[in-house]
Symmetry: C3
Subunit: 318 residues, 3 copies
């Protein structure tokens, strides 16, 4: 196995990583895939390391994915959720972070409804911070698993045409993907209602359209974003029915797509809203591959950030 | 140790098992009992297996029992509870199940307030599903631990006289016991207010009575069911006071019972409602034995469903 | 390593321990400190032991500290929180305790809003009970980590001058410290608004004052207590502003303190209320040392109560 060079202490967002660093994560993840295929899905790599999972927004799939990744690496996991923690009640983030550090925790996985909380934490602690989604800012491990899946299905990301369709404005998944994919040379199109496109997004080097067919024609991959009803206090589009008519990806619109286009979705899907039921489960869909790949990608991130001196050992734990 | 043949992938209910399969679980459980008596209560049998515990109804004792069983077998446990999960919020059961499967989870323990949810899950996933209580349908591991306890205390179940007293209508515990015990040849009586007896229950081959003394006289075991105040939106009986006068098991009514009758209860007890305080703690009571036996029974179920190829090893984990 | 004699089965409060027993815990904790400094922070001491953490009051730091201590000793942890447990719903403490015992749990860590619950539990079970804070009664592991920190910073506790400042009335931390420190011969002063001083506290052998300067002059350590807004249904002091002017520890009042005074706080801090921001983070503060020491102290308590026959092994887990 070639020697891995890794210097980052935190994973706050793909904005902060170089193309080489992103490739290192994806390559490392590749070597972790088969552990979850074994009868005994566990290696001793992070034994005796402590990882805190702080989820201040509800999460089933991302939390499960991180916790499974930690356990398959033999780390000790601690879980804190919701408003039960003093981090939200009265204690400042600074105090919370320093307290966690004083407990000699090695890594902190954090999801928070406010953009920037993981960055703030990283100023105060020695422990490695992994952003599991902060407000509408970034969700780097989701973008990494998207990129990993793209690479598995399509090979080199350079020149690959990827379209993001839906609510771009509130999507930390889209933002992280845009940072990561542009660094690796992909061609990105974003598509959605005018009210759900961020104002200056064209400065990030992506093509913007409000016409679904322009996003579909010629694309190698469509990444459907969830219409996040729960975040939308304002009215961003007239009705679900109108959204469906204009932006839903279904069999009809896919007639104009490349034969081998792949359909991605970070989940959970609003079936028959942004994505037709039969397409979600159809031959183009790689949505469940994304979920599976998330484990390997998160194992890779935990391994790299742990800075563990021991050689990467994928031997079965003794 | 004799070779175990086991072909079921899921444990959805005792309705679906043969008498032989039930006996296999009880025999296997027998061999797990002494692990919880050791100084080091742990064997490596399920190391590297991932088990998800999904509890969509509040549960302390059943969840604790499963989680302890998993840990004593060295499995990795993941816990999801209550309404915090997207399974209840917006995501369909099908999507949830497929996502869990994509995480390469080996077994899913599920409790849900709707009857049939574990069956539905089992149609969509490869992981083994264990029903930890679904609506008013079944609670198979509770019935298995009841049967295990009966066998420990009374020997062969064939011809054993077992009476269930209380709210039969809403009791998944009673339903699972009826399926299991009739298959093993026990004689079952059910007894309760007319409004709390299911309509067609006599078709299941049980005797029905509304007279407590008929249920007590000659019985080898009384299994008291909890009056589940929280489930009863309609008024099924005039008052707790009247229920107590007519159906409470106490010292007085036990004068008509066999000298060696045993008293069972799935817990939590409403003390001095369905069961008199002194009887709950008295010499006939095997209620805490039931709790202890629950661990061994659940270890057996997890072990059998895991389909682990390795020989059953009850050696201390190295 | 000298042989440890330990006979207590529970840790309910420092009121119940002898001076020798307290010293034994502190000495044992000393030997556990370096485990959390290792790359692999884990020893096999409590492998195969089951520890239940029952937190019926919200807690982040104490729960995290206990759970980390358990995992670093390789115990299996079970967590139950909040009102989701039947312990609070309908089930009596006695039944809950007996059920836990029937699960063959070795130790129970419990926090409860009612004073005396840990004592009650201890009457019914064989498992070791560790009080993690009960009402306004005791919080013994917090006091032990305070005493450990004092000893690390100041040496022998005999004759040491320690002042507790703030809400003494509602502070289980103060109560446990008073029991422990007086047994080891420290000189204690308590200081706060008249309404927040318990009536008969002078009978415990402590000096009482309402004058902050009297508490500060000559003190070796100041232990600041949190103003617990959430507990105060009555109005105990006119306003936060007035409290701050009269009792806040800040740079100004510290001019009258000993040069090497240390500042302690059980956390979470109300910054700029009971303690000025710059002092909380300043050179006198040992607040984060307290947090770190909490792990070693809790490991020591778990180890001693486990009554594990095996010699204290601090070897890395194999």
């Amino acid at each position: 196995m070639k020697k891995i060079r890794w210097k980052q202490k935190h994973l706050l967002g793909l904005k902060d990583l170089t193309a080489n660093e992103i490739v290192t994560i994806l390559d490392t993840a590749k070597s972790f895939v088969e552990i979850s295929e074994r009868a005994i899905k566990k290696v001793p790599t992070l034994r005796g390391k402590t990882v805190c999972n702080f989820f201040f927004e509800p999460s089933t799939r991302t939390r499960a994915s991180f916790e499974i990744a930690e356990k398959r690496l033999s780390a000790d996991s601690l879980n804190f959720a919701g408003s039960s923690s003093s981090l939200v009640k009265g204690e400042s983030i600074k105090d919370a972070a320093r307290n966690i550090e004083a407990l000699k925790v090695d890594m902190i996985v954090i999801r928070h409804s406010s953009s920037g909380v993981p960055h703030q934490l990283s100023h105060y602690v020695n422990a490695g911070i992994i952003n599991a989604g902060d407000g509408i800012n970034e969700h780097p491990t989701q973008a990494l698993l998207d990129m990993f899946t793209l690479r598995e299905k399509k090979g080199d990301l350079k020149g690959l045409k990827v379209s993001f369709i839906g609510d771009i404005l509130h999507s930390r998944v889209a933002r992280s993907n845009i940072w990561g994919l542009t660094k690796l040379g992909a061609d990105i199109t974003i598509c959605g209602p005018r009210t759900l496109i961020p104002r200056d997004v064209d400065k990030l080097g992506v093509r913007v359209t409000n016409n679904l067919m322009e996003a579909i024609e010629g694309a190698d991959a469509l990444n459907l974003l969830r219409i996040q009803f729960e975040r939308q206090s304002e009215i961003f589009f007239p009705s679900i029915r109108e959204y469906r008519q204009t932006f839903q990806v279904n069999k009809d619109v896919l007639k104009k797509a490349k034969k081998d286009v792949i359909i991605m979705h970070p989940g959970p899907i609003n079936r028959d809203v942004e994505l037709a039921n039969d397409v979600a489960d159809g031959k183009h869909s790689v949505i469940l591959d994304q979920v599976t790949n998330g484990i390997a990608v998160r194992m890779a991130v935990l391994y790299l950030l742990s800075g563990t001196k021991q050689q990467l050992s994928l031997e079965e734990s003794e």
